[in-house]
Amino acid sequence: MSNWWAKQIQRADQLAPKANGSKELLKFYAQLLRAQKDIYEYLCSREGWLPSGDLESDWPVLSEAFPGFLKVVEKYGPATLAAEAHGLSATSDEVAAERLVTYWRSASDIQFFEKAFLQPYLKWLAESGGRPIGREISASERYCPFCGGNPQVSFLQNKETTAESGNRDLICASCLLSWEFRRVVCANCGEERPVKLGYFYSPEFDHVRIEACDTCKHYIKGVDLTRVGFAAPIDDEIDAAPLDLWAREHGYTKIELNLVGV
């Protein structure tokens, strides 16, 4: 499944030179994806080892990849992240493990290192048939059915060969898996009344839109793969960062901040 990471990296590399306001965000994200791909490949290539889903018992294996990850963030990240990466690399394994376990039990979108480092682990856990242990998984359709994470971005994709309409899926912010979700429903509160759901478009981002809810005042961005089939939702979502600022100026809060903090 390394192809998945390669595709994300390729798309970020493709978008960054052409991007206007989000150029620096994409350049960093491309490097972050490379670091995540390395973690993923390291985990996949461990002979005789599969993730158990219990983070504490898997930490000895995971911890070997942590320093390399911190180095990438320190090298390519903004000053704030670089300083924190530097500080983390000087702390003990136990401190890092404690931070990751805290995130594991109660995920938050402002915990950059925990979220970014555990994404490839959770992705490999799902692909290798494991289940996360010690994470609360809600039965609500708005949370990831595998790990209970928030949706990061939604995308539309044709699933019926004869249909022009796109089915809507949500991508999990924690494990990057996607799950089916209904089209005309708020991904945060479940609002279904059309008058309360606004879809905001801009010609500058033809295939990306804001899917906002006037009931809970939250939004998620949607990437339309029926218009641009080679788009990668998590990259294109970052490319369209100006839409996030517009949404916030108009009183909407994002369901989950992405890995560049918008």
Binding site: N20, T80, S165, V184, L197, G198, L243
Partner: protein, 193 residues
């Protein structure tokens, strides 16, 4: 990292030159935001009126919810969540937008006189008057109260009614009441859904 989402949003909005919670400068992003032209659409789930298959559709309406603005239908697509059609539509259903937005759509009544080859425009008042006169005249002349065996039938076989598939329930209700009260037998609302 001791920064809340609230703090992040605040730094984003003040002066437009804030940084994200992770320290990325938002100045270039904010500059691009200023030039965005944003349009709001609404997506409404509905049912295609054309036939009894009853495919689900999503109607996209453009409008910023301003009080004096008239919403404009800009697109109609199959509903991918609908169990019957799962996002697909037949060619007629796929052109549903044209049922609403079409410059060739008739906006006033027309009449074709007996023997004429062309339709002519007629005002609503004149059309209603003429329909009333012709209905009364025809009914008075051809109403059948008993059949040849002497059974009471109270029917009118010389007037018919054809509805359209996009007629509303309310219009069809009134049509049924009116036509049945006149004794009209040849009656079709084209209500399929």
């Amino acid at each position: 990292m001791d920064v809340s989402r609230r703090t992040f949003i605040k730094t984003t909005l003040i002066g437009g030159a804030g940084v994200t919670v992770f320290g990325f400068s938002l100045a270039p992003v904010y500059a691009q935001t200023q030039g965005l032209k944003i349009a709001r659409t609404t997506e409404t789930r509905s049912t295609c009126p054309y036939c009894s298959v009853s495919c689900g559709v999503i109607i996209h309406t453009l409008g910023d919810k301003a009080k004096n603005a008239i919403p404009q239908v800009v697109h109609v697509e199959g509903d991918p969540d609908h169990p019957i059609n799962r996002g697909t539509l037949c060619p007629k259903g796929a052109s549903l937008e044209q049922d609403i937005v079409n410059e060739r759509r008739l906006l006033k009544p027309q009449v074709r006189r007996p023997g004429a080859t062309e339709w002519e425009d007629i005002s609503w008042d004149k059309a209603i008057d003429e329909i009333a006169v012709w209905t009364k005249k025809t009914r008075d002349a051809t109403f059948i109260d008993k059949d040849k065996n002497g059974y009471t039938v109270n029917r009118l076989e010389t007037i018919g009614w054809i509805g359209g598939c996009t007629d509303t329930n309310e219009l069809n209700f009134l049509a049924v009441k009116t036509m049945r009260s006149l004794g009209v037998c040849y009656f079709e609302t084209q209500a399929r859904v």
